[in-house]
């Protein structure tokens, strides 16, 4: 006995707007790389900010020495 199907049965995936989980998962690698690029851009443009130098750039292993300035305390204007 052949059981016929009247037509394709569609089901709606869970979605947020036009985004569904599978689609979002497929975007993750590219979005991660763009995140890295954004961090690089932020680092490039905040390189001269003392707060960022103190918080992040001085802690870079060897390259961080560039932002550490050893000035004799008596030569620092008050």
């Amino acid at each position: 006995m052949v059981s016929y199907v009247k037509g394709p049965t569609y089901k709606v995936l869970s979605h947020f707007g036009k985004l569904n989980p599978e689609l979002i998962r497929s975007y993750i690698p590219n979005l991660t790389l763009w995140g890295g690029a954004a961090l690089g851009a932020a680092a490039t443009f905040t390189e001269g900010w003392p707060l960022f130098q103190k918080t992040f750039y001085q802690k870079i292993p060897i390259f961080g020495q560039h932002w550490i300035k050893d000035v004799d305390p008596e030569d620092v204007p008050v």
Partner: protein, 66 residues
């Protein structure tokens, strides 16, 4: 070899942009250090760090002479 490296860079725009910004960040630090060390070496005799040393030494010498 070089072409394949460039090809990998251009494969994704995100990698390309990240490389440019990473390179810019590294280069500005490197360039700053390089120019500073050249300038300090070029003007060594006129810099306060040198003058300060000579000043202290000079004072002592004068005291010794008198």
């Amino acid at each position: 070899m070089v072409l394949s490296f460039v090809g990998r860079l251009l494969e994704r725009n995100s990698i390309y942009v990240a490389t440019i910004f990473g390179g810019a960040f590294a280069f500005q630090g490197f360039f700053d250090s390089a120019i500073n060390s050249w300038w300090e070496n070029h003007n060594r005799a006129k810099l306060w760090s040198t003058v300060k040393k000579n000043l202290n030494g000079g004072d002592e010498d004068e005291d010794d002479d008198e």
